[in-house]
Symmetry: C2
Subunit: 481 residues, 2 copies
Amino acid sequence: MEPVFALGLGVARDSGNLVAQIYNQLSKAILQGRLASGTAIPSSRLLAQHLNVSRNTVLQAYSRLQSEGLLITKAGSKTLVADITTTLPNSTLAANLAGMIRPQWQNTSLFAQPGTSIIEFNFSIGLADTSLFPFEIWRRTINRQYRKMETRTMEPGHPAGQPLLRNMIAKFISQSRAVSCSPENIFVTSGAQQAYVLLAQLFIKSGETCVAIESPGYPMARRAFAAAGAIIVDVPVDEEGLIVEAIPAAAKIVFVTPTHQFPTAVPMSIERRTTLLKLARQRDMIIIEDDYDSEFRIGSHPIDALQTLDTDGRVFYVGTFSKCMFFDIRTGFIATPEWAIPFLANARQALDWRNPLTTQLALAEFMQTGELRRHIARMTPIYERRYSAIVAAVHQHAQGILTPGVMRAGLHLTLNLNKHYAAQEVCNKALQRGVKIHCGNEFSVTDKIPNQLMLGLGRISQQAIEPAIKRLVSCIVDKGN
Amino acid sequence: MEPVFALGLGVARDSGNLVAQIYNQLSKAILQGRLASGTAIPSSRLLAQHLNVSRNTVLQAYSRLQSEGLLITKAGSKTLVADITTTLPNSTLAANLAGMIRPQWQNTSLFAQPGTSIIEFNFSIGLADTSLFPFEIWRRTINRQYRKMETRTMEPGHPAGQPLLRNMIAKFISQSRAVSCSPENIFVTSGAQQAYVLLAQLFIKSGETCVAIESPGYPMARRAFAAAGAIIVDVPVDEEGLIVEAIPAAAKIVFVTPTHQFPTAVPMSIERRTTLLKLARQRDMIIIEDDYDSEFRIGSHPIDALQTLDTDGRVFYVGTFSKCMFFDIRTGFIATPEWAIPFLANARQALDWRNPLTTQLALAEFMQTGELRRHIARMTPIYERRYSAIVAAVHQHAQGILTPGVMRAGLHLTLNLNKHYAAQEVCNKALQRGVKIHCGNEFSVTDKIPNQLMLGLGRISQQAIEPAIKRLVSCIVDKGN
C-alpha cells in the first residue's frame, strides 16, 4: 500500500472545509515524521477517488502543502515529501505554541550551524576576499557621515534610498553592466535577500502564484518565495543555463541568475535569453534577474543582462554590494521599472522602513570618489589568477577526472566530475581531509543534478591552490578512508 | 439596493473555486473604486442567499478580502470597504504588471510624503530628541569596531545577534523593566518593525490566523500583520487600555502596547493585564507586547510588563533603540521564549540574514560602558519638564477645553478634548497655523475613537511650549479661519 493511504486519512463532510481537513492530516503526518522525506505522494486523482472528494479539493490541499515547503514538485514530475527536520520543545505549553509555527520554518536544519571540521583549504562559495578591502578609507568615510549627523537634524528620507546613492548605483550598473536605468529606477535594499522578499511581497499571492526557479539554484531565494506562499516549480539547468522550455505555463514569475548561474557558474546563452524574454511577453510573466557577483569578470565581456535586452520593462534586476565590498555592508538594490517604486516603498516600510542613512551616504561617497571602482579593479586580476591556477592544476593533476566548466564572471567556478565518481561523496570526503568544496546537491531539492563540484575563489590563496587540488584529487581517486 | 448587490455579482458553478470567483469580483470592484471606501458589506448570510451558495463560501471570500486590507471589521460590528487609494500606471504593459501587485500594497497613500505646511511648533510623535545624543562618543565607538574589523576575518555569527549585545540587552531590560530574561531569550532585529514581521512570519497563516490589535493602535504593526495575510480584528481601547473582553474568541495573537498605549498613552491597568494573561492561557493565545518607549518615565514606577507577569512563556516582548538612542540605529529586539529562537533564526535569514555586525558590537559597547544609561538619565528629566510644561500650560490656558490624560512613561501625551470640538478638525486647523499635533483618527480604521489630541515631546523646546499651547487653544475656540 502507498504510504499515504496507510495513514488512514478520512474526511467528514459535515465538519466544514474539506481542503483544510486533508491539508491538516497530511501536514501533521509530515511534521511528525510519519511520512518520511522523499516519499512519493499519490496523484490527486488517486487520492480523490480514495477519499471520495473532488480532484480539485485534493489539488488545493497539495498546493498549500507545496507552498509551505512540505511537498516538493519538479517540472513534469512526481510530487515528493520534502526534507523536514523538526524538533519541537519538551514542555507541553511550549510544544503547543511551537505547533502554531508555520511549517516552512519548522525545519530546524535550515539554520546552518558552522561545521566542526578543520578546514585547511577553503573553497567556500559566496564569500569575497576582504583582506585587501580598503577598510581604513571606508572607516574614514563612515566617520565623515557621522560627523555630519551631529550637526543636522536627521530626516528619514524616501524608503527607496538617498538620492545620491540611487544616482551612484544607477551610474555604476549602467557602466559596468549596461543596465539601462536612471536613479528613479533604483530601490535600495538590505542586501539581495531583502530584494527577493520585497518582490515576493509585491507579487506573490499565498497558495496561488507560481514561481519558476533554477534547479540547482540559490536556496535562499527559494526560501523567500516559499515564505510568501509561492507555489515553486524547480526548472532544470543545463550548459546553456535555465531550460526555458521547461518553465510551466502556470508560472507568473521566473527567478534566474543568467550572468553566472548559481551554483553551476554557466552563463545563459543569448538564444535562451531571447527565448525567455519572448516567453515572458507572451505569458505576461515577471523576470527577477539576480546578478549577484558579475562585477568580477573572467576573460571576455559577459553577455548583456536580461534587463538590458528587455524592451518591455518586465525585468527586476537585483544586485548586491556583499561581493564587491564585504557582506556586513548589508546593502543591495533592485533596478526596477519606475512604476513599481511606490509599491516597493509601501512594502519596504512595513518590513523595516529603510537602510541606515549613514551607511547609505558613506556608500554613495565611496562610489563617487571612485574607491569602489578602484577596489574592483584591484581584485579582478587577483580572482582571475586564482581561477587560472585552479584550471592549470586541474589540467595537470586531474586529467580525465575533473574538467573545468565555462565561466565568464563571478567568484566561483565549476569542475565537472567524471561520471564514475559521485559529487556528494567527494565533497564529504574532501571535507574530512580539510578541503571545503561544494556540489549541486546542496542547492537542489530534486535529484536530477549535474555531477559537479563548485569552488569559491574568495578564501583561498594563490599558493594554496596547487596543493589543494592535489589533495582534492587524492580524495576522489583514493578508495580507502 | 445595497451597493454590493448593484454590482451584478454572479458565480458559475462549473468554473471551479467559488470562493475565488466571489473574491475576484469584489476585490476588482474595490480596487477600481466601484465600491467606495466606507460602504457597508452585506452579511454573509444575505450574500450567500443572493448568490445561492453556502454561507461558508462567502465567509471565506470575506476573510480573504479582510486579510488583504480591502475590507475592515471591528469587534462585534459591521464590515466595511477599507480606504484604498490606488493609481495604476498609464501604459498598458505597466498597468498589466502593476495589476499583479497584491492589493495591500496598492494603496498609494500608504507611503506618506512629507507635508508642505510650515511647522512652527512641532509636537510630532514617535520621534526622540537627538540634539543631546552623544554622537561623538558613538562615532568613536563605531570607529573602534571598524578598526577591529580591519584586523580580523569577519564571521557572520548567529542571526539572533552577537552574544555580547544579547547579553547587554538582557541586562538592560531586566534592570529597567524587570523583564525576566537571559541572553538566550534575546533576538536582535532591524528595529521593532522587523520584530512584528518576524513574529508574523512565524505564526500567521495567510487568510486563517486572527490577530486582535488595539484601536486606535499602531498602524505599522497592523500593516506587518496584514502583509502576512492575518485576519485583523480591531479591539477598542478605553482609559484602562485594551478592552480585553472585546477580544474575539477566534484571535490567536494579541498585539498590545500596555506601558504607554499607542497612541492614547494610557497605561493598561493591572486588572486588565491579569485578565489578558488568564484569557491567553485559556485560549492558548500568543501575546506580542510592544514596549516602544518605556525607558522614559514620568512620575511613578510603571506597572510590570506583561512579560514580567506572565508565568507561561507566551509573551513576546518587543523593544527598540530608536527612541532611547536615534532612529538611524535601526536596531530593535524580541525577548522571546528560548524555544522560538531557531524558528526566528530561520525566518530572519530568509528576510535579510542579520543586523550589521559593526553596529551590533558598537551598541553592545555603548551599553557596556554605561553610555546608554547616562543618555537616558540625562534625557528623562528633560522630557519630564516638557510634559509638566504642557500640563501647566493646559491648566492655565485651556480650562474646560483640554484635559491631560494619564501617562506614566514615554515620549508623547494625550489631551482629552471637550466634546463640543472634533479632534480631527482641530488637528487640521492647528497644522494650518503652524502647530503639528496628532489625533486618534490617524491611527484607527474604525470610527469609535476617543476625542483626543496627541502631543509628542521629542521635537518641542521647553520655551516653545506655552506659546504653542496658546496657539493651539486659539485654533480650537476661534470659529473663523
